[in-house]
């Protein structure tokens, strides 16, 4: 017998201090939720999915609700799930406006012969199983909007300086 373990993460980046407490609370909640399912006899796949759903539903993390925005101010998300016993895997890429992409990834794994569905096809597949797009505003946080606005403001400022030669892009300006 193996001592069961559930481990989760909330993303590796320069998490600002104002998010430290909520981020740690979020991963603690997800790990405990997963372990409880494991204790009740859930499979490893059940646990992985449930823990990630807990994190996707927490707006402090960049996944599901709380996802950052594309340059076009859209929500496009990626997810994967893998079963180490069967080596089966399912994934979605650039899926739009779905609160829990990992649920769709699991459906890809269990209901199709494929490993990944992307874009519009992923959304159509999700809808076949009752997982429909939601209003993107339900997934977008004020923080995500601020981040994108700050990025565009900064980028415009830098590129304006180099407008005549467009050297900024060539230089890979940081």
């Amino acid at each position: 017998m193996v001592e069961p373990v559930v481990i989760v993460h909330g993303g590796a980046w320069a998490v600002p201090e104002r998010l430290w407490s909520d981020s740690v609370d979020g991963v603690k909640t997800a790990a405990l939720h997963g372990y409880e399912i494991l204790r009740k006899g859930g499979s490893a796949v059940d646990v992985a999915e449930a823990a990630v759903i807990s994190l996707e539903d927490n707006p402090v993390f960049d996944a599901g609700t709380g996802s950052v925005l594309t340059f076009d101010e859209q929500v496009e998300m990626d997810a994967i799930i893998m079963n180490g016993t069967t080596m089966e895997a399912g994934a979605v890429a650039a899926i739009r406006n779905i609160p829990n992409p990992v649920k769709v990834a699991r459906l890809v794994m269990e209901k199709t012969p494929h490993v990944m569905l992307a874009g519009e096809g992923a959304n159509k597949f999700a809808a076949q199983y009752g997982i429909n797009e939601v209003d993107k505003d339900l997934l977008i946080t004020p923080y995500a909007k601020e981040e994108l606005a700050e990025y565009k403001k900064y980028t415009n400022a830098v590129y304006c300086l180099f407008n005549k030669t467009d050297n900024a892009k060539q230089m890979g300006h940081d």
């Binding site: 001592e3 993303g11 590796a12 646990v47 993390f61 960049d62 895997a89």
Partner: protein, 131 residues
């Protein structure tokens, strides 16, 4: 990005990773998260891994598979993750983090970024951190 790696009492493993990507990404850009062997990997003969960080670098490094392969040589989970992150940094100048469990119940996490919130439960006890 968020992720999970699990091993149950029977030694059965699974992983999951989910992300919104990076701010202001090009529409259609896909990072490492949904790519097997990059954003996640699970194999009962070795363990389970979920990664996070610079997606383009993680894809080039096949980070999750790298960590799993090193665990398969008998190294502990933390050493395997450090090995993968060091490889990614030295060869691709990429940074990130990962969590892993081995099929024997060994657990590890490590990151080369300033912070990564993590938590795990083992023997009913919760462990957590961010720095």
């Amino acid at each position: 990005t968020v992720g999970c790696a699990v091993v149950d009492q029977k030694g059965q493993t699974a992983c999951a990773t989910s992300t919104g990507g990076i701010t202001a990404k090009m529409p259609g850009r896909v990072g490492d998260s949904p790519i097997i062997g990059a954003g996640g990997y699970a194999d009962d003969e070795v363990g389970a891994v979920s990664t996070t960080g610079c997606g383009e670098a993680i894809m080039k490094a096949c980070l999750a598979r790298h960590v799993a392969t090193v665990m398969g040589t008998g190294q502990d989970a933390v050493s395997a993750i450090k090995n993968g992150l060091n490889h990614m940094e030295s060869r691709i100048n990429g940074f990130g983090g990962a969590i892993a469990v081995s099929c024997k119940g060994d657990v590890g996490m490590h990151f080369s970024t300033p912070r990564m919130p993590w938590a795990y439960v083992r023997l009913g006890k919760l462990h957590y951190g961010i720095h």
